[in-house]
């Protein structure tokens, strides 16, 4: 029997990252730098929010959690476990794109690792989302390459975005203080430390090929806190906006 509190903790942090990242992606809908990117970010927003929904449904159906709408739209900020990376405002397209690259590679690696999970619902979901994530990472890689090699302004922007986003992205792999060992022992997933290493191995070659200067791995101080309910000042306004209509009448059907 897998420890359900540990599973719940893992699923909430995955789902919250997907929901908030999807929310940020959807903020590009209608406002992208070119129509094609507008469409791409909207499409990825749907996938991310769809993944979040699927994860919340696992909590609801299998682990005694609340209804997905109520859980996502009515939960207080301190009960969210999203990483600081996804909470950051979109800023310019350079940061949004770099975050998309770093986040989606991390997401892809996480789901790949879940293909062998001892927990069946996550194993099944990871197989389902594999095809989608392939396109997200292809999209991110292609744009990182293009924008890093298209003149000084574009290159400088991508470099600055990388400098800014890298430690935040490393924070995705904040280990659970309570459940890390039990999840590894139960073979739910290989643990954050392993995923972080795999992620570095995956993103470095792309960034090198794009001629971007990389931070020294030993110098990186990952931005932790999100998994413990400590958030950036940007999460609360986002949640307030997200639940604005739902909160008009939480019992009503919308």
């Amino acid at each position: 029997m897998i420890n359900s509190a540990a599973l719940t903790d893992l699923i909430i942090k995955m789902a919250d990252d997907e929901l908030i990242q999807g929310h940020r992606n959807s903020e590009w809908t209608g406002l992208g730098p070119v129509m094609e990117e507008d469409i791409a970010f909207s499409s990825m927003a749907q996938d991310k929010i769809g993944h979040a929904w699927a994860l919340y449904r696992i909590l609801y159906e299998d682990l005694g959690g609340r209804h997905p709408d109520a859980f996502a739209f009515l939960r207080p900020e301190k009960e969210f476990k999203s990483s600081h990376l996804v909470e950051m405002p979109n800023g310019e397209y350079d940061f949004s794109l770099m975050r998309h690259f770093l986040f989606d590679q991390a997401e892809a690696i996480r789901y790949e690792s879940l293909q062998d999970s001892s927990y069946e619902p996550l194993r099944l979901l990871s197989k389902k989302v594999k095809g989608e994530l392939k396109y997200h990472t292809l999209h991110a890689n292609a744009w990182i390459m293009q924008l890093s090699q298209a003149g000084e302004e574009s290159y400088n922007r991508m470099q600055q975005a990388l400098n800014y986003a890298f430690a935040l992205a490393a924070g995705i792999f904040e280990p659970s203080q309570e459940y890390e060992e039990v999840l590894i022992a139960d073979k739910v997933y290989p643990g954050e430390k392993v995923l972080y290493q795999r992620w570095l191995d995956r993103v470095y070659p792309v960034l090198v090929k794009a001629s971007l200067n990389l931070p020294e791995i030993s110098d990186i101080v990952p931005v932790y806190g999100g998994r413990q309910g400590i958030h950036t000042p940007y999460l609360q306004p986002l949640l307030k906006e997200m639940s604005e209509v739902f909160n008009l009448d939480t019992e009503a059907s919308w």
């Binding site: 094609e36 709408d69 293009q146 298209a150 302004e153 990389l214 209509v245 009448d249 009503a252 919308w254």
Partner: protein, 332 residues
């Protein structure tokens, strides 16, 4: 969505230009015979300059309406209540942008670039459907737009899909297919509110009252005062009269609104059983022209948002134009 029934034009440009009227009469006759015969005109075919001009104007305005039309609904994506509505709304607005892309491509086949069209939109030279110069104040506005504005647009677009210009017709066929799903999601959200709590129902009624006049305006001024030439009809650029499209819309949707126990803010609205046509109060046409000319509640905001997005994305577009530069070493 979102091609309004009304093709905006600058004053005094509705008539064929002098040189057009005498331009290559044999080719013109052959061209008109093809159209009369139900054939499609394709990009490489000969066409009168005036036909090209009118089509660019029509398709361009339709494309602008798609990308500007994404804005009022787009602001509700982050606030949509629940996963189902949120996902449906993102997908819908994404489709609208996709329609814009298809339409700009169709217009480009006539010789005007996307950049030139966007520039004309931003400078105010080229218009978009008037209906998007009104605000979406509450979630119920999203339901009204998704159901009724999309429905109105479908009436117009189904007609235009039978027009004479091949690339536009093919784009419209795909657009209409997707719009029929938009209509379903709009209808679903609309019914949810109409059959919901008293507060939800009131919210919907208020939104309906606000949007009724813009919806009546959507198909353009009455035929009796419309100055568009018969030529556009003959060339199958314009496929149905404003009044006919408005009547068709009322015929299909007013009963559906009334069935839900909602009212419409027009005391004389009714179907005349003798004529089979709908009767209604004339909406305020002065307001219509005031809004077209920039005086609507959101004209300024819509264009400013679009300008802001264009400005912010400029470096990306510039980078896309550059060939990849290979760096030997990472530069400090």
């Amino acid at each position: 969505m979102y091609g309004g029934g009304y093709i905006f034009d600058e004053p005094n440009r509705n008539q064929l230009r002098e040189e057009q009227q005498h331009d290559e009469p044999e080719k013109l006759a052959a061209f008109e015979a093809r159209i009369a015969n139900g054939e499609k005109i394709e990009p490489g075919d000969w066409m009168p300059a005036e036909y090209r001009r009118q089509l660019i104007r029509l398709i361009e305005q339709h494309a602008h309406s798609e990308i500007i039309g994404a804005l009022p609904e787009g602001t509700w994506i982050t606030r949509a209540p629940g996963f189902k509505r949120k996902l449906a709304l993102i997908a819908k607005v994404q489709d609208e942008i996709g329609h814009g892309q298809l339409l700009y491509n169709a217009a480009e086949t006539l010789g005007k670039s996307r950049e030139a069209m966007i520039n004309d939109l931003l400078s105010g030279k080229s218009k978009y459907s008037n209906v998007f110069n009104y605000p979406a104040e509450t979630w119920a506005d999203v339901a009204v737009i998704g159901f009724l504005i999309d429905a109105a647009a479908i009436v117009n677009q189904v007609a235009n899909a039978k027009g004479s210009y091949g690339p536009y017709c093919r784009a419209l066929e795909r657009i209409c297919y997707e719009e029929s799903f938009h209509l379903k999601q709009g209808h679903d959200a609309f019914i949810e509110l109409a059959t919901g709590t008293p507060a939800q129902k009131q919210m919907l009624q208020d939104a309906l009252n606000r949007w009724w006049q813009p919806i009546m305006h959507f198909f353009g001024p009455p035929d009796k005062s419309s100055s568009h030439s018969e030529k556009l009809m003959q060339w199958k650029v314009k496929m149905a009269s404003n009044d006919d499209m408005r009547n068709q819309f009322l015929e299909s949707y007013v009963p559906k609104i009334w069935e839900l126990g909602l009212t419409l803010p027009d005391p004389v609205l009714r179907k005349n059983t003798a004529t089979g046509r709908w009767e209604y109060s004339d909406p305020d046409w002065d307001e219509f022209f005031r809004v077209i000319n920039g005086g609507g509640p959101c004209n300024m905001e819509r264009l400013q948002v679009r300008k802001w997005a264009e400005e912010r994305g400029r470096w990306v577009r510039k980078a896309l134009m550059k060939p990849m530069e290979k760096r030997v070493l990472p530069v400090a």
